[in-house]
Symmetry: C2
Subunit: 374 residues, 2 copies
């Protein structure tokens, strides 16, 4: 067994599309940029490309570092690299920052070429469908006729489903992790509370805060703190933090008494410094909207009829954001259509976040699946 | 079977205590008021008194109306009244607004007799222990030597446990509903997000907003929306709301698209108009702090040794805020001490909120328990 290596220094590229994109809302993006990164080498037959779709707060920077000074590598560095489960000695891996993002693709923070100002609130609402359409434009520009695989967790998993539905002949394998075919009322509720906390922050200024040089940090930190609770399982919170106090005794004030409070406040503060509020609310909207079967489980089987790719579906036992039952809905609709699907329910304590972690059984399954893919 | 009747018009009373109350924080409330209501008649032997402890947003107004124009009766009107499960033909029922509340008892909104201004941020943090000590002062002032029962749901259930622990000889029956012996890290997390949304609202003004004639409504509505998600079960949200849209089609904007969003926003707005933010953050702190066994399940059995009262413990299957497992911790610690305890796990879809509802099996159990109490 050859030992895992890191990717090293990577450089993002820009795909500038001059072909208008008609969005699901009916609006049209006349031109748009997608920032992306690639790892590994595209084979001569162009058959080894794997697209990685990102979740709520992810981006195109999957693995490696942009400079040797970078403190952290890309967000899925534990999965992607030489001899890693998604082995870049073998695969050509592509990461894209989705439209509406704030890391270099066209989005609220980027410049509207027409007005020469930031898009701000004028950047349209984008959907999973829009993203996949723009992904396809980039993949086509790279002269890749068919992807070996598309992989994604959470909101990324929804994009994988959409790839298989919209471009059934352009994808061989779909890998859907910790995802669901749509959001439940509870999922939507958590998103709406997060959005309301951002939108009602006086510094949000209806989304046009870049010129004022403010950020709705108060709202964004509340949104992140709340999100964080839903990413972790009750059990992992209990075993990591429980009722551990910051000080020896209660202080009886409104500062943080418990370690879990400090942790959440720290995560909220950190996120509010780094992430763009307009992007955050758009990503949650994309989650809410995605619903290929229009809310009907029976419809899902009908809709899945057009799928041609093979599937690997993975869920985590302690994930209460997208529980294993939601993954099973996907598996059921695939089986109803005699589609080749493998399903793994991983025993994990870390909740929804497990999909980002280097859990041995989880990574072993992915490694084995990718090994057999080509 | 005699038919249920309503209480009719009730009038709150004020208990003015001039005896200083030493709080758990070490601070001293030199004098304080408790607003309370009573229903039914105290027997000559004073043996038929039942104290009802309220939860996060409750108060002393349990049943009946303050005037014939009142739109709604007290918050537990479905339980308390002539021929209702807690029958006021038989029992003398007492409701108290807890210290720190904003409905007439001493709290942040009330006047600090020393400064002649609202207490505001200066009103101390109060705990379940402090509340029970103040309850006992009121009960003593009513010349009641021993309560037939103390009943409460959620945070109210914690007060019942504390009554049984602190005044074991002054309580015959303890009825603990949808409660827990302490909060988990996840419970504390939700409370902290709610508090942070209030505290970081610019209108909070460090808790001194009464004089400025503002209310941190933005923060309070977020806190309530979030709270609401945790009071309902995933299932009941799904069956009541699911992915039902407000309009026929998506609008692709940041207004509410789904009925569940409208519902939560409505609940948040309504609450922010009615409830006091300083009270809200204090009530959540009392929840966080209560932990008679200092976080140890084994300790709970030791601590419960001093209990003399009988117990009825009730939980609801779909309650994920205080799940049946948490109630079973209480039952286990009681059984370890050979304390007479009855336990009922009610199949209910409505989550934590079930304890406020007129669920037939739930009310039948309470009715039967109260019938045998005297």
């Amino acid at each position: 067994m050859t030992s895992k290596k890191n990717i090293g220094i990577v450089k993002p590229k820009i795909f500038e599309s001059l072909i208008p994109l008609r969005l699901q809302s009916g609006k049209i993006l006349k031109e748009y940029d997608l920032i992306y990164e690639t790892y590994g080498t595209l084979n001569k037959d162009k058959g080894n490309a794997v697209l990685v779709c990102h979740a709520l707060t992810g981006n195109h920077h999957l693995a490696g570092r942009h400079s040797s000074k970078d403190k952290y590598p890309g967000w899925w560095d534990n999965l992607i690299g030489p001899n890693k489960p998604l082995d870049t000695n073998k695969f050509f891996v592509i990461g894209i920052n989705n439209l509406g993002g704030s890391d270099g693709s066209s989005g609220p923070k980027s410049t509207n070429k027409k007005t020469k100002k930031s898009w701000g609130a004028d950047f349209p609402v984008v959907t999973v469908e829009d993203w996949v359409n723009s992904h396809e434009a980039l993949i086509t520009s790279l002269n890749i006729p068919k992807l070996a695989g598309v992989i994604g967790g959470s909101l990324g998993g929804m994009q994988v489903i959409q790839w298989a539905l919209k471009f059934p002949k352009k994808i061989n394998h779909a890998i859907v992790i910790a995802a669901a075919p749509n959001l439940t009322a509870q999922n939507i509720s958590f998103n709406e509370v997060a959005r309301q906390s951002i939108i009602t922050d006086p510094d949000f200024n209806k989304g046009n805060y870049y010129e004022k040089n403010t950020q709705p940090k108060r709202g964004l930190r509340i949104a992140r703190m709340l999100g964080h609770i839903t990413y972790l399982s009750d059990d992992v919170m209990e075993s990591k933090f429980g009722r551990k106090l910051k000080n020896k005794n209660y202080k009886y004030d409104f500062k943080t008494e418990f370690e879990i409070e400090s942790y959440l406040n720290y995560q909220g503060d950190k996120f509010a410094k780094e992430f763009d509020a307009n992007t955050y609310i758009r990503m949650t909207k994309a989650l809410d909207y995605y619903d290929p079967a229009n809310g009907s489980k029976r419809n899902l089987s009908k809709v899945f009829k057009k799928i041609k790719s093979k599937f690997l579906v993975i869920s985590f036992t302690s994930d209460w954001r997208f529980s294993p039952d939601r993954s099973k809905e996907i598996v059921k609709a695939l089986l109803d259509n005699n589609i080749d699907v493998k399903y793994a329910e991983i025993t994990a304590t870390s909740g929804h976040d497990a999909f980002l972690m280097e859990e041995p059984r989880y990574h072993a399954i992915l490694k084995s699946y990718f090994n057999k893919m080509l």
